[in-house]
């Protein structure tokens, strides 16, 4: 239902679901705020978003109200420019700044500080407070976050995120009056797996990204490239920032239907692996002698010339890299290469994906009933777990309706709920984080539980409490992770619900960033590759085969082993040829996430002597070896076209990859400085900007802010809004999203469950790349004492 309101003479049409502040911001109007956050709701504490409200046409005096706590009603008149409101907003900023240290020049957040932006926006510029400021000691909070408590302006966002949104209980608010303190009861490592979001939730510099601090650059001096988190199958959208060819940090990149405003700590701090000493930056042969890029290519070409070369793919490598290897060795010689467990699970997952649309994270977040089967989402897909946590704390709609409370009125909604929650069933073999919010925990065979549920839902067995709860829901989600049988059983629960008329959704948990992309090319396990590779040459892509059962055997059985990777491993050390290729930060490629969403990452770091993309190295070697026509895939785009012809299921990957032609958005902020001076001590001539043809993004300060075709926006900035809060300004700008099998016919028939996998040799919660990140290693060491 639309409502018409007038703000400073401008007519706005609003949907009735947003508060007045959100309405103004999304209409492009400037209203300052601190405590409001789109994901954390309105609480009315900072008093910064004051506007004048006139009730009805006769009201000339009006009343100052907080926009964030105001529900737009029909024919409401609002003034942002009203002098009384303007004066109060300036006073509110002046008051929070009485105790603020004004240490912007030495603060990491200076230049992207919401507090700075709001101070400027309100016009406050002169300090009148002349008394002693209150001060606080800072706490040690672990290797991820540094606390500078004196900067605090008391917006309560941190504690609302940490405790309420992310369910952490080791961080809170202490004290009262102006001595409110936000931190832990005693110093120590923050326990939450989502603590890193405090950096972005804080409107100023109280919580700072510690690893970034050590190699800090101003936001405006860093290249910002849209990228993807490579550390699990969720594929959260991130922005990767670099300067001088050096990785600096990861920040969240808003994606409404996926990660929203938040990342997990594995995602935020895992990318530190890019700087790990375990990075493989130079190709080498078995003797350890370095190989130039050319020599590396030649050596790979020599291997590819051999008959019957076996290729082993990787679920952490891009679609492009896997396809290139598959194309060169032939589909029959290309193996996905996972464990037997993984192979069967992957097979089931792609089978399900082709006939059932999977839930987006947003849909999981808004479910009114949740059933988790098998693995602990917090270990396998932390951001999905955080989304499910929101479903668990969602206040039932009828509770809000009975009290006429809008959903955004965060505290009123929480108080109203007071224990009234939607059903949340956790049927996992191990105890996990979500047990805390579950209405029911089932700790025995999840497969048997799921199969029994199907019978109960279809009415062939008397329905239990869980079946009844799911049947009573409007849009429940079933989340399954484990072996093939369990994934299919989870799908069958969703199918049974759909048959019963319930709009159930399904979400599958898979292990790696590109598990689905690889699964659509091949699912055969490492053991089969091992058998096939006996006496032959084997090319291993971005994988440590020693993680697989029988991995060592490969080196005994194969004629030779050549590995392409960007991190060191036992496989790299023992391989006859180890070829350095680019990581996700160094090249272009695509991942397919656990929703079946195809997403693109772009070359984000431009070093002096970057190793080539795996797919480009394979292509060049393939051409040399005569396995590929010279002009078959001259470009990334041509490769995707070939992929679509070869594997129709993956034809849509090309759709997620914008044409590099046309106007390329700038990845350097328009205030980027030091271009001419940064290298002048080495060479007084200004260096050429990096040349890069595979990406739809430019490498310079020139270009539009947004990619016209896809909506991708490298540098987040709005006039007057230098912080990440710029994302809240103006109309919601989605990016074009590509899902595989979008036009599929949804199945009705149940899946055959098949045989359960007997051996589960997985180690959940450990991902190879992020384990190399110095910050993640440090945290683990601190926790281990």
């Amino acid at each position: 239902m639309g409502v018409k309101i007038v703000v400073d003479g401008k007519m706005l049409r609003v949907n009735g679901e947003q508060n007045l502040l959100a309405v103004c911001l999304s209409s492009g109007l400037d209203v300052p705020y601190f405590c409001w956050h789109p994901a954390l709701g309105s609480v009315g504490s900072c008093r910064q978003c004051a506007v004048k409200l006139f009730r009805g046409p006769a009201d000339a005096a009006g009343q100052v109200v907080m926009a964030c706590m105001t529900r737009p009603v029909i024919d409401m008149r609002v003034s942002i420019a009203d002098p009384e409101a303007v004066a109060f907003r300036e006073a509110a900023v002046e008051m929070v700044l009485t105790n603020h240290p004004h240490d912007c020049p030495v603060c990491e957040v200076g230049g992207e500080c919401h507090l700075q932006d709001m101070a400027v926006l309100t016009g406050h510029h002169e300090r009148r407070y002349r008394f002693a400021k209150r001060t606080h000691p800072n706490q040690y909070l672990g290797p991820f976050i540094r606390q500078e408590m004196n900067r605090c302006i008391g917006c309560y966002r941190c504690v609302r995120f940490y405790q309420d949104y992310a369910g952490g209980n080791d961080f809170g608010v202490f004290g009262a009056n102006r001595n409110v303190v936000f931190g832990r009861a005693e110093e120590g490592v923050l326990e939450s797996a989502f603590a890193g979001n405090l950096v972005e939730v804080c409107p100023t510099g109280v919580f700072v990204d510690k690893p970034f601090s050590a190699k800090f650059r101003r936001k405006w001096d860093m290249r910002a490239t849209p990228s993807l988190c490579p550390h699990c199958a969720v594929g959260c959208n991130i922005t990767l920032q670099e300067r001088g060819g050096e990785f600096r940090r990861v920040v969240n990149r808003y994606n409404e239907t996926l990660n929203g405003y938040f990342l997990c700590d594995r995602g935020r701090f895992g990318a530190g692996f890019l700087e790990s000493t375990a990075r493989l930056r130079r190709s080498r042969d078995r003797s350890g002698a370095a190989l130039s890029h050319g020599a590396a290519r030649d050596r790979l070409a020599a291997v590819l010339r051999c008959e019957g070369v076996i290729g082993i793919g990787s679920a952490r490598a891009s679609v492009e890299a896997n396809f290139a290897l598959r194309a060169l060795v032939g589909a029959e010689n290309f193996y996905a290469g996972g464990s037997t467990f993984e192979a069967s699970a992957s097979q089931a997952a792609v089978e399900i994906l082709q006939t059932m649309r999977l839930a987006t994270l947003k849909e999981a977040e808004t479910a009114d009933a949740v059933l988790v089967l098998g693995d602990d989402p917090a270990a396998v897909a932390p951001r999905l777990a955080l989304a499910l946590h929101q479903a668990a704390r969602r206040v039932p709609a009828e509770v809000l309706a009975a009290r006429d409370i809008p959903e955004w009125d965060e505290n009123a909604a929480r108080h109203a709920a007071s224990g009234a929650v939607n059903p949340f069933v956790v049927a996992t073999t191990e105890a996990g984080w979500l047990d805390d919010v579950a209405t029911r925990v089932v700790r025995y065979a999840p497969l048997a539980f799921a199969l029994a549920l199907v019978r109960q839902i279809e009415g062939t067995a008397p329905p239990g409490e869980v079946a009844l709860a799911l049947l009573a829901a409007k849009q429940p989600v079933v989340v399954a992770g484990g072996d093939a049988a369990l994934l299919r059983a989870g799908a069958n629960v969703a199918l049974a619900l759909r048959r019963a008329g319930v709009a159930a959704r399904l979400s599958l948990m898979l292990p790696e960033a590109n598990s689905v992309g690889l699964g659509l090319m091949d699912t055969r396990p490492f053991s089969e590759a091992l058998a096939a590779g006996r006496g032959r040459d084997v090319v291993v892509l971005e994988r440590d085969v020693f993680r697989e059962a029988g991995g060592a055997q490969l080196f005994a059985d194969a004629n030779g082993v050549c590995v392409l990777d960007h991190v060191d491993s036992q496989t790299v050390q023992q391989a006859d040829i180890a070829l350095a290729v680019g990581s996700f930060a160094d090249c272009d490629g695509s991942f397919v996430n656990l929703e079946g969403r195809v997403q693109r990452f772009f070359k984000a770091i431009f070093g002096a002597d970057d190793p080539p993309s795996a797919w480009a190295l394979l292509r060049d070697a393939g051409v040399l070896a005569g396995r590929l026509e010279a002009e078959q895939w001259p470009t990334h785009h041509a490769l995707l076209a070939a992929l679509g012809e070869e594997i129709p299921a993956l034809a849509d990957v090309a759709r997620a990859s914008p044409e590099p032609g046309g106007s390329r958005p700038a990845t350097l902020p328009h205030r980027h400085s030091g271009r001419a001076a940064a290298q002048s001590h080495l060479d007084v001539r200004e260096a050429m900007p990096p040349q890069h043809e595979d990406s739809a993004l430019g490498t310079t300060m020139e270009g539009p802010p947004v990619h016209a075709q896809t909506g991708v926006r490298p540098v987040l900035w709005e006039p007057g809004w230098n912080s990440g809060q710029a994302v809240n300004k103006g109309p919601a700008r989605g990016t074009e999203e590509v899902f595989l099998f979008d036009g599929r016919t949804e199945r009705i028939a149940y899946f055959d469950i098949g045989e359960p996998c007997v051996v589960d040799d997985r180690v959940l919660g450990v991902e190879a790349l992020s384990e190399l990140s110095p910050a993640i290693i440090a945290r683990r060491q601190v926790l281990a004492g």
Partner: protein
């Protein structure tokens, strides 16, 4: 003159136990009402009596109760909460009632809870009121033993449990929604309204929060009728009110008088006027959150409506006297320091504005004031005023500051000009 609230309170005598209280006519209202009168009629009677909230708001108790949703529409738990967190500076009326006649409060709770069909009642009592809490706990036990509290009260099918819950010493807990948060075990920060506690109160359930004195009036209204109650007041006001005076008067204390008694009469007749050698300058009529009254305003009838018509508030009705031997700047600085200290820290103007105000006042009092300080202070009375802050704490604090800046402007200016306090 009738004194229904304090009739049984005698200095130096232990409060009535249930037998003495019953012999004196206590619990007659409960026997008359519970199970025999429709809850809606009870609400109607209290509404007709004109009883207003004695915590300081003066809002019609009957209308507050009427805002409870129909039990048929909103089934489930309902709460009746007594605000006994009496922490307003200079205010000690609820303490008198709880220590002097605890059964009167218990009877009022039974009736009020029955009227709004609450099944659970809490008395949220100031932590320092140890004796009152013990007396109330004993009174509740006695009432339970007598079948007046508990299951199936007097065979009426109506169940009610009453719990005494101590506060942990924050002024803000006297704000009804902060009180509810504290009762739930959360930080004592206020909640935004709407929703009203009647719609979404304690644990999200329909809840009424009433002040001790308000509740103590209920048994008398139901026993003697709304018309009787209305006749108790003066100048068209209903009931009696416990007024108090503290400061250098002859007989400081609390006095139950008709609502609408003029301040001058309270001060001169009941408090005995100023002590010898001490002159009257001004007073805060109802605790620290009301505006100053000076000599020529003293004929104002002390009632919610009359005070509000003059831009002031009756507040708790317990006055604090500012005499001519006390520095008004120091007096106000002391008040503001209290409010700054007691700010819960939730909203910006209160958390960061009040300390600034208090520090500025202290600087003036210490002879370190600057010419522009007075402009800043009067500016702050606007920024911390009604509607600007999350709850009424800071606006209450500004009432005395704003009126003080007006009435004692010369004293402020002299402090700044001379760089010293003349009373020091």
């Amino acid at each position: 003159m009738q004194r229904p609230l304090t009739h049984h309170i005698l200095r130096g005598r232990a409060p009535f136990d249930i037998h003495e209280y019953t012999r004196a006519g206590g619990y007659q209202a409960v026997r008359k009402v519970v199970g025999r009168m429709a809850p809606a009629d009870v609400v109607g009677e209290v509404l007709a009596s004109g009883l207003g909230g004695c915590g300081g708001g003066g809002f019609s108790t009957g209308r507050k109760w009427q805002a409870m949703p129909d039990a048929a529409v909103r089934p489930g738990r309902r709460y009746f909460v007594v605000n006994a967190d009496e922490m307003e500076p200079g205010t000690f009326k609820d303490r008198l009632l709880m220590e002097g006649d605890p059964h009167q409060l218990v009877e009022g709770i039974i009736l009020g809870a029955y009227a709004v069909q609450a099944d659970t009642a809490y008395i949220f009592i100031r932590g320092e009121y140890v004796e009152a809490a013990q007396l109330l706990a004993r009174a509740v036990e006695e009432a339970e033993a007598a079948g007046l509290v508990g299951r199936n009260i007097l065979g009426s099918d109506y169940d009610l449990s009453i719990h005494v819950h101590g506060g942990a010493g924050r002024y803000i807990c006297g704000e009804e929604t902060a009180l509810l948060n504290a009762l739930e075990g959360r930080r004592a920060t206020p909640r935004a309204k709407p929703p009203l506690p009647q719609v979404s109160g304690l644990f999200g359930c329909p809840t009424v929060v009433n002040n001790v004195e308000t509740v103590c009036n209920v048994p008398h209204i139901l026993r003697h009728g709304a018309a009787w109650f209305r006749a108790l007041g003066r100048d068209g006001e209903a009931g009696t009110k416990i007024f108090g005076v503290s400061g250098r008067v002859r007989w400081p204390g609390a006095y139950e008088l008709p609502m609408g008694t003029p301040m001058r009469e309270i001060l001169e007749e009941h408090a005995g006027g100023m002590r010898d050698g001490v002159g009257f300058r001004a007073l805060l009529p109802g605790g620290a959150s009301t505006a100053f009254m000076v000599e020529d305003e003293l004929d104002t009838p002390m009632s919610f409506s009359a005070m509000s018509a003059r831009g002031n508030r009756l507040g708790t009705g317990t006055a604090i006297i500012l005499d001519d031997r006390t520095c008004p700047v120091g007096f106000i600085a002391n008040l503001q320091r209290f409010f700054a200290q007691e700010s819960c820290g939730w909203c910006t103007p209160c958390r960061d504005g009040l300390p600034w105000v208090a520090q500025t006042l202290q600087a003036i009092e210490d002879g370190e004031g600057q010419a522009e300080d007075l402009d800043l202070l009067s500016e702050m009375t606007g920024h911390l005023g009604p509607g600007r802050t999350f709850c009424a704490l800071a606006p209450g604090a500004m009432a005395s500051l704003k009126s003080g800046l007006e009435y004692f402007r010369d004293d402020f200016v002299r402090h700044i000009r001379e760089g010293a306090c003349a009373w020091a």
